[in-house]
């Protein structure tokens, strides 16, 4: 089933202990789309500037992503630059230039309406609500960030009552819920009307709360994580892409989707930008998912790695 994603496309300048890249393709919707593209047809709705160029478009098209909803506006593409600490667990933002993204108003076309699966990337929650109202999907999940949690908490909480699921970082979940403990935060967020909640914990994996059920998956162990940028978005893309492919959103499908999300995040961090994420094979994805299953299997047989 086709999956529609609305979010940001950017050029990132990133420094990590493994190196530095300048103005490489990034943005949450970009990582999401490419990760999801291994599972299902993806349509990307986002905005870029006149400076975007052909190369990133070729990369997206090469992955089969439908970029007909990628608006090219007067001005420059969103730019972010930042740096990670030695252990990669802290990120310092040096500059955020929203550029054309600042006045982004997602335009839903006739063909976008009724898309069965929708992912509302991290934009103004009022816009997320508007897109949701126009698309009226069968299944919808969203992401958000500190900026909206602090600035538009009411809009955001209203949105959470209208979507099926939220896929969010642990620190943001705690901030949004006003709780210091992640488990308590999850309970409070679920009470807002969510059917499911995925809490992403970076190198520590991710947890799924769904109805009264809980499921947790460790990160796929990567010995040389070059750049964590986009890992959470790649997780969300793998997760939603898998559900869209399976056309199932029940407990067992969602648990499997957690494995696929985890594996897409692991590929993402193995190189800068989308270098690795955009070039993996389905065979490599399935092999890593099988390995991950083994890492969770109390009764073995455990798999070699």
């Amino acid at each position: 089933m086709s999956l529609l994603v609305v979010g940001s496309v950017a050029f990132d300048t990133v420094k990590t202990p493994y190196g530095k890249v300048d103005e490489v393709l990034g943005g949450s919707a970009t990582y999401f789309s490419v990760a999801a593209s291994y599972f299902t047809p993806v349509r990307l709705v986002a905005v870029v500037g006149k400076d975007f160029g052909d190369e990133p478009v070729r990369l997206l098209k090469g992955r089969g992503v439908d970029v007909s909803g990628l608006e090219v506006a007067d001005g420059k593409t969103f730019r972010w630059s930042g740096e990670y600490s030695e252990d990669l667990n802290e990120r310092t933002t040096h500059a955020t230039h929203l550029n054309v993204f600042e006045s982004f108003r997602p335009k839903m076309r006739r063909q976008d309406k009724g898309a069965p699966f929708l992912f509302l990337g991290n934009i103004d929650p009022d816009l997320q609500q508007q897109v949701l109202g126009e698309v009226k999907p069968e299944f919808v999940a969203c992401d958000t960030m500190n900026f909206w949690i602090e600035g538009k908490s009411d809009s955001l909480k209203r949105l959470l009552g209208s979507v099926h699921g939220l896929v969010i970082n642990d620190s943001e979940a705690r901030l949004l819920a006003g709780e210091l403990n992640t488990v308590a935060a999850a309970r409070r967020l679920m009470d807002l009307g969510l059917k499911f909640l995925v809490i992403k914990r970076g190198e520590f994996g991710a947890a799924l709360f769904q109805g009264g059920h809980y499921f947790a998956v460790p990160a796929y162990p990567v010995e040389r994580p070059v750049d964590p940028t986009g890992a959470g978005d790649s997780f969300a893309g793998g997760f939603m892409g898998f559900l869209a492919r399976e056309k199932k959103v029940g407990g067992p499908a969602m648990r499997q989707a957690m494995l696929y999300g985890t594996v897409m995040a692991s590929f993402c961090v193995e190189d800068f930008s989308l270098r690795r994420l955009a070039t993996v094979s389905e065979k490599a994805i399935d092999a890593r998912v099988a390995e991950l299953r083994g890492f969770l299997d109390v009764d073995g047989p455990s798999r070699k790695r």
Copy 2:
């Protein structure tokens, strides 16, 4: 099978967002012993001062811990005081008074020699090596800490070549290996000759490296973690205690032991000192292990919580 543990017994003064306690029973070997006591006979070798009193001894004996190797030395019992951050993830030590623990020289008695299972708690690695040489157990694991990693790295690395396993915090594992990445650190530590390595990650669970196999378990979700002190030691106690009970140390037993360690840590954090850990029932332990299995089960049926 009986399990011998050598380590510290202390009085702790602890402040967390949930309250404050003064001079309560603590120490790594104390938490370890009590957690392990639910599975197997435990003998504790440690030192306390003349001020130790009867009450802590009664608690240990009440759990069936053999305290005949608890030496009472002239002087005061080891004291530690510290405070946790709001999210419990950072700990500030206010005072460490080693007192009688400073000159602790574990005395192995005739009955300690040949103990089948041994856990070398966090003491000077030269003393750990000496105890190991005297006991000559069938199966031995150890713990350590920053102080020894920084001060006695060579002794410690030699010790790791003589034990079966190491149970250690993730930050300490990275420090000991000289690696910024936990997976890379694990690989390097295994190369020192370990048969297995458990990396403890607090609220994020724990990972097991064993031969070429990997297994990861999330923390049992606790909504109101009152005091994390002793959680890692309780994990180690549950882990080793289970193995001693099963008289098995292969892959499947060790994976199950990871669940029991996780569950004992979850009880530990639910109250200050050993208040909760010392008063759980075997039924409650088994119920939580069954729940935890459900949280790891990709194919469900997932369990309600």
